[in-house]
Symmetry: C2
Subunit: 502 residues, 2 copies
Amino acid sequence: MQTVNKWDLFELTVTGPATGNPFTERHFGAAFTHNRETVSVEGFYDGEGVYKVRFMPSWEGVYTYRTFGDFAGAETAGTLTVGPAGPGNHGPVRVANEHHFAYEDGTPYYSVGTTCYVWPHQPDEVIAQTLQELDRGYFNKMRFCVFPKHYIHNFRDPQTFPYEGTPVDNAGLSEETFTYQADLSGNHWDFTRFCPEHFRRVERAIQALLERNIQADLILFHPYDRWGFSCMTREQDDLYLRYCIARFAAYRNVWWSLANEYDLLVTKTLADWEHTAALICAEDPYAHLRSIHNCMAFYDHARPWITHASLQRQDLYRHVEFTDEYRTRWSKPIVWDEIAYEGNIDMGWGNISGQELVRRFWEASLRGGYAGHGETFLDPENDILWWSHGGTLHGESPARIRFLHRILSETPGLGLKRGAGAFDETVGVPDTVMPQGMEIHYYGFGRPSFRDFIKPAEEQWKAEVIDTWEMTVTDAGVHSGKFRVPLPGKEYMAVRLTRVTG
Amino acid sequence: MQTVNKWDLFELTVTGPATGNPFTERHFGAAFTHNRETVSVEGFYDGEGVYKVRFMPSWEGVYTYRTFGDFAGAETAGTLTVGPAGPGNHGPVRVANEHHFAYEDGTPYYSVGTTCYVWPHQPDEVIAQTLQELDRGYFNKMRFCVFPKHYIHNFRDPQTFPYEGTPVDNAGLSEETFTYQADLSGNHWDFTRFCPEHFRRVERAIQALLERNIQADLILFHPYDRWGFSCMTREQDDLYLRYCIARFAAYRNVWWSLANEYDLLVTKTLADWEHTAALICAEDPYAHLRSIHNCMAFYDHARPWITHASLQRQDLYRHVEFTDEYRTRWSKPIVWDEIAYEGNIDMGWGNISGQELVRRFWEASLRGGYAGHGETFLDPENDILWWSHGGTLHGESPARIRFLHRILSETPGLGLKRGAGAFDETVGVPDTVMPQGMEIHYYGFGRPSFRDFIKPAEEQWKAEVIDTWEMTVTDAGVHSGKFRVPLPGKEYMAVRLTRVTG
């Protein structure tokens, strides 16, 4: 008897022909039937005559399945018994209400993300370091790419390539000669033959994140390319997308990010993106979260296939404070995946302080959105920067981001709501009021020495002072009516009020 | 022979009737004639039977004058010889080009302002402290009010009142009971009889600023009132305005600010403000600078009588970074007179750090606008806060603001212009390029470890690293072509490039 837990990955393997081009000439798949659903899933060729099909069951109980294909031995049948979700397995993340996420079992998901664009394509020891950092529980989402990256600090070749063939020689590449539109000559790829090991590296990354309760925000296309993966034909793109879906969709923690900085992908039109979106909507049996990330111009996040807005700030100053506007504009969750990184490189997008990044996280979160981390400290010896390679973290923000997640997880209900007051004396301090009797007042770079509050005389409210940088929560008594909470007159403080009676 | 220097104040005094109400029943004035101009100016009654008329000559050489009035002894005549402007006297400040100011003699004026709303109305020892601070040369503009102020930290009575009568009892006023719309009963004023000593206090303040090369940005109306000065009739307002013009306009450093937070003055309509503006335009012989300051909603700064936009930030986050938009919108100088104050009070408008305030000054200035300072540190013992009372400065920003002014004064030409690049690698860092071969690149809260620049091979550029917080300028060599300037990877740094040959 074959068994698997709900929302875990079930895989069937058959052997078949290795001749010709199995990636394009062969077809393999399966249908899984339960009294609540029938799911038809496409399989994929994994090299060496091995064909696989993967499935993520959404229901407990018995599924029957049949595999099918156009080669001898493709057709099998069997029974799969699905047990209850294991400990810590809450299912895929979904949009649970207009602006917020929850796991499929209803557990709220408060996103605190990071970015390591090409960490699966690094040497094993770097990947091991990355996982060691992730073990500390700083983040619950990571953005990364299927394709390798060509950019400043990214001139080394990846460990594997996604296609059979040979890459352009990377000797002589440097920051000095880098341009955004690389010369693609010198590459020799067969875009009809995948290199399965490259995709296995991505799968190991997804699985490692899954084991750490981290969502894998998988970037399917991006512009930072010297190999030509960003300017394949639509047919080649579709083949690639179907291969990704067949291999990755059964991992419950996958999110689809159609692109990083789609607007820099000059080879693609809006029609191409809409085509890609339609293909994913049609082929992904599980309706994983979908978005598309900008450099300058936002995509039209009102498009129905977009589940949440994955945003990069549009200039140095205007970003998380616009959470309210974009919530209203799109009526979807707002995820600020790029709001500048903690670091000290020359670029303005990669040299803010830990304090400033953490402030942006609090602003985004308390305005009812979500934020993303990245780290870009110069590393002259190894040139390993977390933002792209993973490795070791050097900054001060990760521990504070984890602390923020703790505070968010202690809020009642699902997701944070803005306070009702359009104008209070603080003029615009994000001020989160939950209907269940909790308020968090965050003062950002303000340094109040105290704050006054007014509550009904018949209610009792517990006051706590939160130092978002020192990561402390200090009791400030239980109060009714008008009361004053003393504060230390320094930055990055918050007051949490919780109704205890009344 | 009567003599005065160009742009200095010349005053004629006659004695006349003290009976009846000389403020409303008597008229006194003078006409000054030079071969380049004839200026007719209104005089004013200064109490005790003394009538005065004041004049600021704009030309060297000989003026003849005649005084006139409706009482015996009012008519006199004479000759006034005007000598060259004295040392440091550059005349009134004017709008010199679309976005910038200069003194009338052409010397650029880079505004670095502060606010002490009611400092002339404080006890003499506080005024002396204020002047001691101003002697340090931190600021070259100060905003303050003719009327006293009623607000938190402002419950003591002023030293004098502008009208004859008696004020409401201030006993029992406190932060606890403060409301924005005070009960005005209990006041007994004769709005037709000024108290000259109150206006002399204002004049001494203007004169003290003039002696320190500080512009007096005089606020004529404001909403923070428990005496009724904010809700007089139009006839009473006009009498007051004419009195202010007659007394103050001959001081070359006067600017007219029609209101602080005009939009909170619920008793006044836009028609009232336009009427006030028309009166000032008609009666001020010298066309001093004119603006009107908002709380929430900007006034329509496109109105022709407005010489420059005096702005308060509209929320906690969006302010000086919008300088570009407002330059374009109004084609006038942009002066951010309120962008939050250095301090630690409970209010969000009064508890930012010195670092943040100085950053806002640099942002505003390098985007081709100007900024204003204020300070609000709690003072439990004396309740003297610079923002309202003057007194002693406690913050870290003033010395840095003075340093910024030095850097601005070292720029060539008149006023700063934005760099042409709409998108460079730093995405929006304000980047000031002067046509005369100087550039200042400011990195704000960014912390680059270096920056690369490219200049034509045939040109030589001197590079200097400016630490805007430590107030240092460090030589970084002379370069051509592509070159790198090392930076310390910390906040608030700038690079100044000056073309030395080519």
